[in-house]
């Protein structure tokens, strides 16, 4: 690069910077002044910013800034404010029983809104976003309940959970693993599984002795599931006469259920959530169409 005297470019009429590379000269196109001033302004701004806000990393910490601002405290403050606002609204829910809430339109509206939010946060992973359940996790919209579908029963189930190890009042019962524990032989299990299908009006497999299955059912199952197979919500034994099956009604599913027993669990939410949220959840779950 050589430096030449400044010249005027013949074609564009613009002056050149005086820089030249192999005969190519650079046009002088200065930055607009307003742009330059903005640029200087941003530099000045950044200096102010360094002192006001967290900016420079140090070896073990960082410069905090004189304003003492951090995003984390901002979030904590906002959350505390939101919680305080929510608690003020929730005061009515705290005093009322679930039945009282269900009868009061204002409290009901509030509980449904809170319940929907809490359901999405805590229950949807297993029971589905709309309470429709999935294989192994009960459908809450169908009106088929293991432990009862009244408002109080749902409330108690959410509070204490099912087979929850950390709650003394938890709902508990145990179905024997008829196959694993050697109570029934595989062909007996298959027979009783086919009989159970017939209770619900489903077709049994061909060549299986359903009558033998019925006899095995009478000997082993009626104590809990009842003679008609309608179950018992006192002990959480399933109603076998509905079209809704938590673990599926295919013969393989039924054989597995009888051979190994499912005895599924649900956490006791009183150990995890505040009482108002649990009430709201009970109201919301009861409202999903299956409530009794």
């Amino acid at each position: 690069m050589i430096t030449d005297p400044v010249q005027v470019d013949k074609i564009s009429g613009q002056t050149t910077t005086g820089h030249e590379w192999d005969g190519i000269r650079e046009l002088n196109t200065p930055l607009p002044r307003w742009w330059l001033w903005l640029f200087y302004l941003t530099i000045a701004f950044s200096v102010v910013y360094w002192f006001a806000y967290p900016a420079w990393p140090l070896f073990t910490s960082y410069t905090g800034g004189v304003l003492g601002y951090t995003n984390r405290t901002r979030v904590a403050e906002d959350l505390a404010a939101a919680q305080a606002g929510r608690m003020q609204q929730a005061a009515g829910l705290e005093k009322a029983t679930v039945d009282e809430i269900a009868r009061d339109p204002k409290l009901l509206e509030l509980a449904l809104a809170q319940g929907r939010a809490a359901f999405g946060d805590n229950c949807a992973p297993c029971h589905g976003s709309g309470g429709q359940g999935q294989k192994g996790y009960p459908n809450l919209t169908a009106g088929r309940w293991l432990w009862g579908g009244s408002l109080d029963q749902i409330y108690a189930t959410i509070q204490h959970g099912i087979r929850a190890p950390d709650d003394a009042d938890t709902r508990t019962s145990a179905m024997p693993a008829f196959g694993k524990d050697g109570i029934l032989k595989p062909d007996q299990i298959r027979a009783v599984a086919n009989y159970v299908r017939t209770i619900d009006g489903l077709e049994p497999e061909k060549g299986v002795d359903v009558a033998a299955g019925k006899k095995i059912f009478a000997e082993n199952c009626v104590a809990c599931h009842g003679e008609d197979g309608k179950g018992n919500i006192e002990m959480g034994s399933a109603n076998l006469t509905t079209k809704v099956w938590q673990y599926g009604a295919d013969i393989d599913d039924l054989v597995y259920t009888i051979a190994n027993a499912r005895n599924s669990t649900m956490p006791a939410w009183s150990n995890r959530l505040d009482p108002v949220t649990i009430k709201s959840l009970a109201i919301y779950v009861h409202s999903l169409g299956g409530g009794q």
Partner: protein, 482 residues
């Protein structure tokens, strides 16, 4: 071609970014149009300041302000009209109406909006008046600008800007009154207890008023406003616009020259080239060059020219509201014709009447209640323990009246369907009922259950009936099955 070498000072002198604005010093003027402008100014400012304080009774627990934009509760009130967010399309109608009225007024009288009623014109007029009171008329102001910084100049400048800021503050302060209960907010703002947002907006509008009306003035009309460009495309030869009657004024010459010309039998126009029309012009244009972008058609040049014409004993209205068509006709020796009613203006008027009629009809016949329905997507349907099929819906009822009411609702289109909801109560006739607070909406989760699967998709209809008025609202959705 010679190689030119230039000095360094020429290269690094970057020059101004754009041509500096020529400062306009409008001169004081008095006459018909100036009087008209003052009247419009008083009416406009009067409406602006009084409107938020007018009261309107809407019943208990309802806002009493006649005109209120209630952002927090998303309601807009204008006297007997109450608009909900879903009805903002009325504003679209209002904007269409406003633009059509601008078109019509433009076709009839040119830029009357620009010249008399535009807020930019009104506030600039007010600020100019303040400037004239403090710094004097045109000549004094030019002199003061050129004068060195003496104590007197500083005093005058401080007084002027202080007065401007006070007006701007009152302007910005009044604007926020349309968004909250005005009497309450005035007290709150005066005692520094108003919400921050009120001060923020009052401050922003104070600054815009101060800069737009005090400093930018005609620059707003010349560079910022789109209307001069639209007007250029809309004008026609039959529009009554502020025009210099060149047929009468040209050739312009001084009184002495005119006397000479008459003596020689040469033609002499009435314009004595005194430049008074330019001196009084708030945008600094020369009306004698015809219709132009900068002319806001305020008519002040008419007043100025009339005063001069009276003094020199020539007939007034050398500058007047006239049409291009008439000027050309007079040049051809024909008589003036005024065609205010012509296809274009009739069409504008008809479209205005139609739009206004449609809006009025829609406003008067709009329902005081509404039902909308949303199908629950997860699950799309549920098989019930009894073997039936159940679909979930979210109904939203709106009660736009200022009194509580009860809506009965039911579903049709599905044989043997039962409707259940934990929020609604049985109404007795197989339907359900919900109570609604005044001026409120209510979301109601509803389940429809069919004893057997009716098919993949069945159209069903929800009907809500206001128990008091019998008014009905219908919403259509589908019932899904396996």
């Amino acid at each position: 071609m010679s190689e030119t070498t230039v000095g360094a000072e020429e290269i690094y002198d970057e020059g101004p970014l754009y041509a500096a604005a020529k400062k306009v010093y409008p001169q004081k003027v008095w006459g018909t149009y100036r009087r008209l402008k003052w009247i419009v100014l008083f009416i406009a400012l009067g409406v602006y300041y009084i409107l938020p304080f007018l009261r309107w009774n809407r019943g208990p627990n309802q806002p009493t302000q006649a005109v209120l934009i209630d952002i927090a509760h998303s309601r807009f009130y204008a006297f007997f009209i109450e608009l909900w967010p879903q009805e903002v399309y009325y504003f679209t109608g209002l904007l269409i109406l406003a633009s059509l009225i601008l078109f019509l007024s433009n076709a009839l009288f040119g830029r009357v909006w620009c010249g008399y009623a535009c807020p930019q014109t009104v506030w600039t007029d007010l600020f100019l008046w303040v400037e004239r009171m403090i710094e004097g008329d045109r000549r004094d102001r030019i002199k003061l600008d050129e004068a060195p910084w003496t104590t007197e100049k500083i005093m005058k400048r401080v007084a002027k800007h202080a007065a401007w800021l006070v007006i701007a503050l009152l302007t910005g302060g009044a604007a926020v009154l349309y968004f909250m209960d005005a009497p309450t907010l005035v007290v709150q703002m005066a005692t520094f207890q108003a919400p921050t947002i009120a001060y923020l907006w009052a401050g922003i509008l104070t600054l815009t008023t101060y800069s737009l009306a005090g400093h930018m003035r005609e620059q707003v009309c010349l560079y910022m406003c789109p209307w001069p460009r639209i007007q250029a495309a809309l004008t026609d030869p039959d529009a009554l616009i502020v025009s210099y009657r060149s047929d009468r004024g040209e050739p312009r010459m001084s009184l002495k020259e005119a006397a000479k010309a008459h003596a020689h039998g040469d033609p002499a126009g009435d314009c004595i080239d005194c430049m008074q029309c330019v001196a009084v012009c708030p945008t600094g244009v020369d009306i004698r060059r015809g219709l132009q972008l900068g002319c806001i058609q305020c008519g002040l040049c008419i007043d100025a020219c009339d005063a001069v014409m009276t003094k020199v004993r020539r007939p007034p209205r050398l500058i007047a509201y006239d049409t291009d068509e008439n000027r050309d006709r007079r040049k051809r020796g024909e008589n003036n014709v005024y065609r205010l009613a012509r296809p274009r203006t009739i069409l504008y008027a008809a479209v205005i009447a139609l739009t206004g009629g449609i809006m009025l009809y829609a406003l008067l016949t709009r329902s005081d209640m509404h039902l909308s329905v949303l199908h629950v997507r997860a699950p799309l349907f549920t098989q019930t323990a009894e073997g039936g099929i159940r679909n979930g819906y979210t109904l939203r009822f709106s009660n736009k009246l200022g009194a509580p009411t009860e809506f009965g609702f039911g579903v049709s289109g599905l044989n043997g369907a039962t409707v259940t909801s934990v929020v609604a109560k049985p109404a007795g006739d197989g339907r359900l009922a919900v109570r609604l607070d005044p001026d409120a909406t209510l979301e109601v989760p509803v389940y429809v259950t069919a004893a057997s699967a009716p098919g993949k998709s069945t159209p069903i209809t929800f009907t809500a009936t206001d128990a008091k008025t019998g008014e009905k609202s219908v919403a259509v959705d589908h019932f899904f099955g396996p």
